[in-house]
Structure formats: structure tokens, C-alpha cells
């Protein structure tokens, strides 16, 4: 049990670092869903099934959907490695993406 806990916490912290460090925003969203999934396992380990269930529902379904819909609406796809410049609809910026 001890080593499982250590591993889950390590996965959680590593993916939290990945959220900040991954250059691609969609990958960061995937990493943040991994954070909340590991967090839900941690909540089960600390005997909080209610909280684990809320975190599972929110992290697995809701938060990812909201983030992805917002990102899609932003249209900022590339932001990093596989960058593909989007046509800019706004005048006078040029500093974007």
C-alpha cells in the first residue's frame, strides 16, 4: 500500500509539472486530466470516496470538456511544437500564436 501511494503521488506531481512545461496547450489539458485522475486515486487511498467521486466526475468529464471547448473556440491550435498558424481575424495584433 505504501509504495502504491508513493507511485500515485509521484505520477500526480510529474503530470502537474507536465501541465506547466509541455509546450502544447492541448497536451497540457491532457496532462491536467491525468493530474485529477491520480488525485482521485489519492482520495480513495485517504478514505474519502465522496470526494474521490466528485473529483472523478469533474476531472474525467467536465473540466476536460470545458477546457477543450474553450481552446477550440480560441482557435490557438499550435502554441508550440506542431504549430500551424491560424488566420488572425483581429486587426492590429500580429503578436499572437
Amino acid at each position: 500500500m505504501y509504495w502504491i501511494t508513493v507511485l500515485v503521488v509521484a505520477v500526480m506531481v510529474l503530470s502537474a509539472l507536465a501541465v506547466l512545461l509541455l509546450p502544447n496547450l492541448l497536451a497540457a489539458v491532457a496532462a491536467s486530466s491525468v493530474v485529477s485522475l491520480a488525485l482521485s486515486v489519492v482520495f480513495v487511498i485517504v478514505r474519502a470516496p465522496d470526494v474521490a467521486m466528485t473529483e472523478a466526475a469533474v476531472g474525467a468529464g467536465l473540466s476536460g470538456v470545458i477546457l477543450v471547448l474553450a481552446l477550440r473556440r480560441l482557435g490557438l491550435w499550435g502554441l508550440g511544437d506542431d504549430n500551424r498558424p491560424q488566420p488572425e481575424r483581429f486587426s492590429g495584433t500580429g503578436d499572437d500564436a
Partner: protein
């Protein structure tokens, strides 16, 4: 070498989530990544709260059958965190809507560009000539 107890491991995980989230809040350049970092910090805070009620060998605060078998963990932090998580989603959605709105108004979601635009707007509102902010963008202007 003696291993740290389980509580210390969990506590360290919660604190490092909190720290990573806060560092991301301060350092992130893109507004959506700022929202993500806020979520990470919030997760750390929630875990910290739940950990205050945890003790080893206790069971979940849910009665199965008549008598509880052994000690139970504290239900009050769990109830607090339950509501905190749901509120966190609302906050996240509202923050993303505001990011979309900022994008619509300013055409950018990058912090540095946004800051330059805000300084320009402030200068314009204060009646200062706009050249100053363009020539020396790093200089703080009296607001």
C-alpha cells in the same frame, strides 16, 4: 534509511501540487495555461484539506450495516472539499469565458502583449503621449 510515514508522503504531494500551481500562476505566459495552473493549485489545496482528517487504519465515514468497524476519518473536511471542487469547476468555466472575452477585446491571450496593450490604454486614458511606452516598454509609468 527509514521511510517517511504515509502522511508525510501525501502531505508532500499536496504541498508540491500547491507550489507547482502557484509557480505556474506567477510564471505562465499564456492565459489558458494560467487557468490550468489555477486548477492544479486548487487540487493541491483540496488534498491538503482532506489530509487533515485522515488517519491510518480508519475507514470511510459511511456506515455499512449497523455498527462502524473501527475508527472513521473526519467527515467535515470531506464535506468542505466536496463543495470546493464543484465551485472550482464554476470558477474555471468563468475564467475561461473571461479569457475568451479578453481575446475578443484585445486579440491576444499572451500576458506580455496584453500588459503592453493595457499600459497603452492607460496612457491613452491619462492623456500621456503614447511614444513613451513604445520606446521604453519596461519602464513603469505612473498610473
Amino acid at each position: 534509511m527509514s521511510l517517511p510515514p504515509l502522511e508525510i508522503v501525501l502531505y508532500a504531494g499536496a504541498v508540491s501540487l500547491l507550489i507547482i500551481g502557484l509557480a505556474g500562476l506567477v510564471m505562465s505566459e499564456h492565459l489558458v495555461r494560467l487557468v490550468l495552473a489555477l486548477g492544479v493549485a486548487e487540487a493541491g489545496g483540496n488534498l491538503l484539506l482532506v489530509l487533515t482528517g485522515f488517519r491510518q487504519g480508519a475507514v470511510a465515514p459511511i456506515l455499512l450495516g449497523a455498527a462502524p468497524s473501527g475508527p472513521m476519518v473526519d467527515p467535515i473536511p470531506q464535506a468542505l472539499v466536496l463543495t470546493a471542487i464543484v465551485i472550482g469547476v464554476g470558477v474555471q468555466a468563468l475564467a475561461l469565458a473571461l479569457v475568451l472575452r479578453v481575446r475578443r477585446a484585445y486579440g491576444t491571450v499572451h500576458m506580455s502583449a496584453l500588459r503592453a496593450r493595457l499600459v497603452e490604454d492607460l496612457d491613452e486614458a491619462a492623456g500621456l503621449p503614447p511614444e513613451g511606452s513604445r520606446e521604453a516598454p519596461g519602464v513603469e509609468r505612473p498610473v
